[in-house]
């Protein structure tokens, strides 16, 4: 296929899901984000700590909205976030003087490592980026960022996913653990 020909796209868009499915996606993501946000605002925020980061919104799309996706499985959710958080913090510590470089390295290296470890989880890219551009509150955490908010927050979201996604007959979660 010619280079430009490829840009036209030749496939079709997948069908829209049923209303029931939409409702379960809403309920799941509401509860998942509510759980993490409650912990954040009621418990850890006053101590200058974090529980909630932007990339969890992206994770919610996957683990409550695309339950069967390989990208939404526990291995990917936890592995992708934790690995990317570690890379992000490292990138900031090593190259923080050049924020553009630290940001690009954090995201690119995270994607590569997620590929290699079969833990590809798109929100992981955001988690890595936040470690660099998240400002003082994130930078002050150092490698603690990997455990909290990232690992802990992802674990809470996973717990909610395990409960909510197994209630309807038409859903089951996860497809696999490892």
């Amino acid at each position: 296929m010619l280079f430009l020909e490829k840009m036209k796209g030749s496939g079709q868009s997948p069908p829209r899901v049923s209303l029931v499915e939409v409702c379960w996606s809403w309920v799941g993501s509401f509860l998942g984000i509510a759980a993490v946000a409650l912990l954040h605002y009621r418990l850890v925020d006053e101590k200058g700590l974090l529980m909630l980061i932007g990339s969890f919104g992206a994770s919610a799309v996957l683990i409550y909205g695309a339950v069967r996706s390989p990208l939404a499985q526990p291995r990917n959710l936890l592995g992708g976030h934790i690995l990317s958080a570690f890379i992000g913090v490292t990138a900031y510590l090593w190259f923080g003087g050049q924020p553009w470089l630290a940001a690009a390295l954090a995201v690119a290296t995270s994607i590569a490592l997620m590929h290699l470890t079969k833990t590809l989880h798109p929100p992981g890219g955001a988690t890595a980026l936040i470690a660099v551009i998240g400002g003082e509150s994130v930078h002050n955490l150092g490698y603690l960022y990997v455990f909290m908010p990232v690992a802990l927050g992802a674990a809470v979201m996973l717990l909610v996913a395990l409960i909510v996604n197994n209630i309807p007959k038409t859903r089951k979660y996860p497809e696999f653990w490892l």
């Binding site: 496939g11 049923s18 029931v20 695309a66 339950v67 069967r68 996706s69 939404a72």
Partner: protein, 201 residues
């Protein structure tokens, strides 16, 4: 290639429309485009065909009761034998019981002198155009003289994929399956092969 024959019994030409409908049948968001699924399906189908072709061997599909002719038999005896058994060809064995050739209708037709690529209808035409029947030419000859030799044979562990390729490459219709000493233990015909592909029973 054997692939060509297998395609006949397969729904390889699944359309993206089929896939879209199937995806609608399944509840929940599927994180795959119909085009990707189609590609996966086609590769998977090919792998399945290869797996099945490699997993089934001659011994699994062959007809175990194999009717053999002896090379010293005269053609009248042989034709009567084949007619009785309602078969159109058979392996030929020597005095020690080893397969030395294969005889089919084609070999008989060839001997009847209407050319190497003779057909039944040519024989009919020939008989109607001339007095008498050309079958008389077959008298006083033995199977050993008309058989196709050396025989193409195979062991019991040849895969059906390889057998299919052999049928097509060598343009044969039956393949005697022999033991280590060359003695027949079965025969795989085109019919056996077709039955093994389409899993219809």
């Amino acid at each position: 290639m054997p692939q060509k024959e297998a395609d006949l019994c397969s729904p390889l030409n699944i359309s993206e429309g089929d896939i879209l409908e199937a995806m609608s049948d399944i509840q929940g968001y599927l994180d795959i485009s119909p085009g990707d699924f189609k590609e996966i399906f086609q590769f998977a189908y090919r792998h399945a065909v290869t797996r099945i072709m490699d997993s089934r061997k001659a011994a699994d599909i062959m007809t175990k009761e194999v009717h053999c002719l002896e090379s010293a038999m005269d053609l009248r005896q042989a034709a009567t034998f084949l007619a009785d058994k309602k078969i159109s060809g058979a392996p030929v064995v020597d005095a020690e019981g080893k397969v030395v050739g294969v005889v089919s209708e084609k070999d008989f037709l060839a001997k009847m002198g209407v050319g190497k690529a003779a057909s039944f209808m040519q024989i009919i035409a020939h008989c109607l155009n001339n007095k008498g029947c050309v079958a008389t030419l077959l008298r006083n000859h033995s199977i050993g003289e008309i058989m196709t030799a050396p025989a193409i044979t195979a062991g019991h562990d040849m895969t059906i994929g390889t057998i299919s390729a052999l049928f097509i490459d060598k343009r044969i219709n039956r393949l005697p399956i022999v033991d280590g000493d060359g003695r027949p233990i079965g025969i795989v015909t085109r019919t056996d092969l077709v039955n093994s592909y389409c899993f219809s029973r």
